[in-house]
């Protein structure tokens, strides 16, 4: 039984607790002891695509593959670990792809790949490694890291959108791109429709 939250290393159901120190910002009261916590566990699946994966819970805001890679690499460096991350699967931070309307209205576009039917709950994703060895190396490094002194915690580097990135949402779609996209899509659609007949 662990009394204080600060020293919880793993959860009862096998998830490792992976803390990252929150960066100092002049807008919020600074405190070295404040952390973001990820929960990580080895992923078990029969699906080919999902081999050599870690199941990751609670990924920080606007985190992509590269951000995650760089943070994990810092941990690997601390423990002289070699591990290669390949991909981040099913990461849908804003819940945009929770429902696939297209698949629900027609089976024409279905390609039968797991990508279309598989997903993980919100605020979770799969971190795919190049091979089984990488996964295991990563896990053992994370295990040591989670048990180490909090002062050795790695500081998380948030991705911040720039104002112009936010304003880009208002930008018109390039017409040429749009025309091409539509033409391409319509021809694929017609092909499939013909095949279906």
């Amino acid at each position: 039984m662990v009394a204080k939250g600060e020293s919880v290393h793993s959860m009862k159901n096998g998830f490792l607790v992976v803390p990252f120190r929150l960066p100092v910002t002049r807008f919020l009261p600074g405190d070295e002891s404040k952390h973001h916590y990820m929960f990580v566990k080895k992923h078990q699946s029969k699906v080919q695509e999902e081999q050599s994966c870690l199941f990751v819970v609670n990924i920080p805001l606007l985190t992509g593959l590269e951000t995650l890679k760089s943070a994990f690499n810092k941990i690997f460096a601390q423990y002289d670990t070699v591990s290669h991350i390949e991909d981040l699967l099913y990461h849908d931070e804003f819940g945009l792809r929770e429902v696939d309307l297209s698949r629900l209205t027609s089976d024409l576009l279905s390609t039968g790949t797991p990508e279309e039917t598989r997903f993980t709950p919100r605020n979770t994703a799969l971190l795919k490694f190049v091979d089984e060895a990488s996964v295991n190396n990563c896990l053992s490094a994370l295990r040591k890291y989670s048990q180490s002194d909090k002062s050795k915690s790695i500081e998380w580097e948030y991705t911040s959108p720039s104002v112009s990135a936010l304003l880009d949402f208002y930008k018109p779609l390039p017409k040429d791109y749009l025309k091409e996209d539509i033409a391409e899509h319509m021809s694929i659609f017609e092909q499939r429709e013909q095949q279906a007949q």
Partner: protein, 1150 residues
């Protein structure tokens, strides 16, 4: 002919059917009504114990009165010296008699004592603030001479009589040790200064509570001194006779009539007569007393009373007058004396009969009702009007309605008409509106505009200081008091000045004292005030269709000036001018100017009262301007001089759209265009900001349009491809637009996120040469099928999400068209809807709520006071409409009540009160439709009894589902909206409706949130959103008028609101655990330059305590122990700070 005949017959049959259905519905309704009435009457019954208590005192009082010693005749001088050194003073009415020149004697002989009024009739009800019992002391005949009705003689005799009686009663109470708890005061009966009375009330006692202390019953006792019946020749006291002789400069001139004085004297002789008259009616009519109680409640809730209206109240018609009218109608009342009411009627039928009579018969201008209080012959409506409200008793020569003013009569009649409509309503239950809602509690809810008029020297103002009005001897005898004169003067001046701009005017004297110590002669003695009030409140009900017109038209010009022309010119003075109108006529008129913050009426009231009272008069109103300045002022030429009712900026946008519409319609496309349906807010005049050309930073700049093509079997049968196909069509439109009109029109494409999970919706955005923007979405006949198919194919747990998606589609593509069209039409007949809904949106956005609510929902809520106005009138000002929206929201128990709106033009002009042949009745919602909607609501609440999922059920004929625009609102938003409106209404009711409270009303309570993030955008948006600061100089603003779009459409994005995107993604990311709020309109609510915003957040209560660790818990958490986690606030705050990065100014956490 045969066809026509049968057609006529069948329509006749149909009419008959409808009649039967109506009757059945009415019968059903009156049954329910009866149950409600029975319950109500039970609730207001006087407690028996209270009656016994006060009766014990009355018996004792009766005995004491007999102990008052009689007096010998005295001169006034002797009487005055009698009271020297005593506590009690003689409450002489003005003008006080001059002892040196008064010859008649005053005296005291034991009076006849009797109970009169409601208590005697056993028709009293329990009143939370207590009620008065009237005890009549009739002075013996021997004290009077035949001519005593002249020149105040009998009144002075009565004053001395009352003082002598009071003096002895006071002694007797002391002697019996009752002075410890009894309180004696003078008062004026029904506010009539000619009628001083003695009022007895009780004080609480700490110990040894006397048996006679009736404090707890909340009764008070009025001792009224009456004159014997028929002591004076009643003909001489008719309303058109003069009974106060004053010296006139011109000896041959006849003296004016003294109707108030005459009535006061005559009615002092008839208290018992009318008690007997009512008693007879009560005996003959089983439900008489109950109907009287209904009348009493109805009148009270509307602020009517028996008090004299001439000194400023909605007076002259209280329970007594209601009962007399009812009794008269039981004895006739029709043109031939036919009975209007029957003795066997139920209380509801009697009540409704009286209301209908008041609503439909004119008792002022074109006719009057006469009756006989001795029941010798039947009552009769006579088509002869006296221009004063008249209910004339041929027996006593009393006009029962003498205490009414024309204004109070007009408002009474209007109230009766509104009530009759409610009583005839077979669809809705109007019981509460008729009897339970007190509409007189706050003037600002009831009236459209109120002004406080302060005389040059306040209450100390002397008649001479009213430089522009004369209060001479003839005015004095006519009006009796300066107060009455002023009330009458102001009402008449305003009626003439405002004409058809208003429906009604009511004048109230604020700070008037009703009672005064027995040691004082009159109410304002010792106060230093000459006048018995502090200020005059003018209350107006506005006629919205005329209120803002620029010209007040007078009579036509002619060579020989007509009396009307002379009056017009004299009234307006320098303001009056001659103008030639389009029809060629030359007419006297006054020209006014409009303003964005003040109604034309304000200018007129100012001018007229200064001109006709005194230049020193101050006319105060610190709310209208303050509130209207919260409506964003558009950066358009002369906008500060544009009325709130002016919709030109919207019309300009519509014209620009019409041109584009024609261009698109004429295009030759693979499928031809079937319809182009504008659905944006500006088309229905409800957008928070006015449409301003080139103001593309405004979030509402691009107005939505739904485009439909001819039906085609070729639309793809899959949603992504369908959207792509639609885009292909839009691309074709774009191509042709650029090819043929590329010089004038710019166009581009954007992604649309309004339908959840449909990421392929593309909109065509078009910028017109006039400076407006429209965005087109395509609707096909296939869409609905596909969304429904998605629901049926989905796994069970996804169904609710997909149903939401479908609903969003329906509201955005289909219902929006009906909504836009209906509201556009309605707006034309409800002028104040547009500014009110825009102000309401401003309020919601000030409180960070607007972004969470559908525009349509907001608009429907704001429509409530306009289309379902009962028991009030349709709002006739921005302030009134806005207040009523808040009031409705504050009282709406959405858990149990649906909001069902009939989206048809409100019937204001209902003169006859009959709904039988109402041509609009077909458009109106019928009982079946209403019940159907109610059933929808009940079904909804069966599955969601506490409104956890859908709070606001808002339905109409065009959306019987009631949830189209309100599903998906987070519960905390709904409860916050209710709470904020409650706070707002409470604030106004306790601290008044003024500059300070209005500012508070629009100040967001940021302390209520778990955190507040302050943001500043690098580019200010105010100017590019087309908003003008009302404080900015006119010239400066004109320099900043926008006049073009950037040549490259992709640079439009530089002047958009980045914070909107932030909040959108934050809400998506944390949708499970945190609700974010922010201002949607940074240009309006974002400080001086429109570059500020805040993001506030509420952590959902569920996440404020530790939870078991689960994989699918979806929130940013930190471990507490091996099984439990809690919300990681610090990490979330850091994420938000990182997300807001460059925009962040300050981060407040609690």
């Amino acid at each position: 002919t045969t066809t026509t005949g049968s057609k006529g017959q069948s329509s006749g049959t149909a009419a008959q059917d409808i009649h039967i259905i109506r009757e059945t519905a009415e019968l059903f309704k009156s049954n329910i009504f009866k149950l409600q009435i029975d319950e109500l009457l039970q609730q207001v019954k006087l407690k028996d114990s209270h009656i016994l208590k006060v009766e014990k005192f009355l018996h004792m009082l009766h005995d004491l009165i007999h102990e008052v010693p009689e007096w010998e005749p005295k001169t006034i001088a002797e009487a005055e010296s009698f009271f020297k050194g005593k506590v009690v003073r003689i409450p002489f009415v003005d003008p006080k008699p001059d002892p040196s020149s008064t010859n008649y004697k005053v005296d005291y002989k034991t009076p006849m004592i009797s109970l009169v009024g409601s208590f005697a009739l056993k028709a009293g009800i329990y009143q939370p603030h207590g009620s008065a019992i009237d005890v009549l002391l009739t002075m013996p005949e021997e004290l009077f001479e035949k001519k005593d009705f002249l020149n105040f003689r009998c009144l002075h005799k009565r004053s001395v009589y009352l003082a002598y009686f009071t003096h002895h009663l006071n002694i007797l109470f002391k002697r019996n040790k009752m002075d410890e708890f009894l309180q004696l005061e003078y008062s004026y009966f029904n506010n009539d200064t000619l009628l001083p009375i003695l009022k007895i009330s009780c004080k609480p006692q700490d110990s040894h509570i006397s048996d006679y202390n009736f404090y707890k019953t909340k009764f008070s006792i009025n001792l009224i001194i009456g004159f014997p019946y028929q002591i004076f020749d009643s003909k001489k006291l008719l309303p058109n006779r003069n009974c106060i002789r004053v010296a006139s400069n011109e000896p041959n001139q006849s003296l004016p009539a003294t109707p108030l004085y005459n009535f006061s004297i005559l009615s002092s002789t008839t208290y018992e007569t009318y008690l007997k008259y009512l008693h007879r009616a009560k005996k003959q009519t089983e439900s008489f007393v109950q109907a009287t109680t209904l009348g009493r409640l109805w009148l009270q809730q509307r602020g009517f009373s028996s008090k004299i209206a001439h000194s400023g109240t909605l007076g002259g018609f209280g329970t007594f007058e209601f009962a007399i009218l009812m009794a008269a109608l039981l004895n006739g009342g029709g043109n031939n004396g036919n009975k209007i009411l029957l003795h066997g009627f139920s209380s509801y039928q009697l009540f409704k009969g009286v209301i209908k009579y008041l609503a439909t018969m004119d008792l002022c201008n074109d006719g009057h009702l006469q009756f006989h209080s001795d029941n010798q012959s039947s009552s009769k409506y006579v088509e002869e009007g006296f221009q004063i409200p008249t209910l004339f008793d041929k027996t006593t020569k009393v006009n029962i309605l003498s205490k009414m003013s024309v204004s109070s009569y007009e408002i009474l009649k209007k109230s009766a008409q509104q009530t009759l409509t409610m009583l005839n309503d077979v669809v809705r239950d109007q019981f509460a509106n008729v009897f339970l809602t007190n509409i007189s509690r706050m003037d600002n809810f009831r009236y459209d505009i109120c002004y406080d008029v302060v005389l040059p020297n306040g209450g100390k103002t002397k008649p001479e200081e009213l430089t522009n009005s004369t209060f001479g001897p003839t005015e004095r005898i006519k009006f009796i008091t300066l107060e009455n004169f002023l009330v009458n003067k102001i009402a008449n001046v305003l009626k003439f000045a405002l004409g058809d701009r208003i429906h009604f005017v009511d004048v109230e004297l604020v700070g008037k004292r009703d009672t005064f110590p027995i040691s004082k002669r009159k109410a304002n003695s010792g106060t230093g005030n000459l006048l018995n009030f502090d200020l005059i409140r003018v209350k107006l009900l506005v006629n919205p269709s005329e209120s803002e017109k620029l010209v007040t038209r007078g009579p036509k010009h002619s060579e020989e000036p007509t009396p009307e022309a002379v009056h017009f010119k004299n009234f307006w003075g320098s303001k009056s001018s001659l103008r030639r109108f389009k029809d060629g006529s030359i007419t006297h008129c006054c020209v006014w100017s409009t303003s964005s913050t003040e109604p034309v009426i304000s200018s007129i009231v100012n001018f007229a009262l200064h001109k006709h009272l005194s230049e020193g008069t101050r006319i105060l109103n610190d709310r209208t301007k303050q509130l209207q300045s919260f409506l964003p002022l558009p950066n358009l030429p002369a906008s500060s001089k544009t009325s709130v009712l002016n919709l030109n900026s919207f019309y300009n946008l519509k014209r620009s759209f019409d041109d584009l519409y024609r261009i698109i319609f004429e295009m030759s496309l693979p499928l031809s265009v079937k319809s182009i349906l504008p659905v944006g807010q500006a088309f229905r005049y409800t957008s928070l900001c006015h449409p301003v050309p080139f103001a593309y930073s405004n979030p509402d700049f691009f107005q939505e349009v739904v485009l439909e093509f001819e039906t085609s079997p070729k639309w793809p049968d899959e949603i992504t491809s369908l959207e792509k196909a639609k885009t292909a069509f839009l691309l074709k439109i774009d191509e042709q637009l650029q090819a043929n009109h590329g010089d004038n029109y710019k166009s581009f494409f954007t992604r649309d996120e309004s339908i959840p999970y449909n990421l392929d919706v593309i909109l065509l955005n078009v910028l017109t040469p006039e400076g407006y923007g429209f965005k087109f979405r395509v609707l096909t006949e296939r869409d609905e099928i596909l969304y429904l198919r998605a629901i049926s194919n989905a796994k069970k747990d996804l169904v609710p999400e997909l149903e939401k998606t479908y609903m969003k589609f329906t509201s955005k593509y289909v219902a929006s068209v009906r909504h836009a069209r209906t509201l556009e039409t309605l707006s034309h007949s409800i002028p104040f809807f547009s500014p009110v809904v825009r102000l309401f949106k401003r309020w919601l956005d000030a409180h960070l709520l607007l972004d969470h609510l559908n525009e349509e929902l907001v608009e429907l809520i704001a429509l409530k006071p306009f289309v379902e106005s009962s028991p009030y009138s349709v709002p006739g000002s921005v302030e009134n409409g806005f207040l009523k929206v808040l009031k409705f929201l504050s009282q709406w128990n959405w858990k149990e009540e649906p909001l069902i709106l009939d989206l048809v033009k409100p019937d204001e002009e209902l003169e006859s009160g009959s709904t039988d042949e109402d041509p609009k009745s077909t458009e109106k919602m019928n009982l079946g439709q209403f019940k159907g909607i109610q059933a929808n609501f009940q079904n909804l609440r069966k599955t969601d009894p506490n409104g956890m999922h859908v709070q606001f059920f808002v339905a109409s004929k065009i959306d019987p589902s009631g949830i189209l625009y309100s599903s998906g609102i987070p519960l905390p938003i709904a409860t916050r909206l209710t709470a904020l409106s409650k706070v707002a209404v409470n604030l106004l009711q306790t601290h008044g409706f003024n500059k300070q409270t209005i500012d508070l009303l629009f100040t967001p309570a940021l302390k209520d949130y778990d955190f507040v993030v302050h943001l500043k955008s690098p580019s200010p948006l105010k100017i590019s959103s087309g908003i003008l600061d009302s404080s900015e100089f006119k010239n400066l603003a004109n320099d900043k008028l926008l006049n073009s779009f950037p040549s490259d459409t992709s640079s439009l994005s530089r002047k958009m609101d980045p914070t909107y995107q932030l909040v959108k993604y934050l809400n998506m990311k944390y949708k499970n655990s945190v609700i974010f709020f922010s201002h949607r309109y940074m240009a309006v609510n974002g400080g001086e330059k429109g570059d500020r915003n805040v993001i506030t957040g509420l952590i959902k209560p569920f996440f404020k305590k530790p939870q078991k660790f689960r994989v699918n818990m979806d929130y940013n958490s930190k471990p507490i122990d091996e099984q439990t986690v809690e919300l990681n606030r610090d990490a979330i705050f850091h994420e938000i700070a990182a997300f807001c990065s460059e925009l962040l100014v300050k981060f407040d956490t609690d």
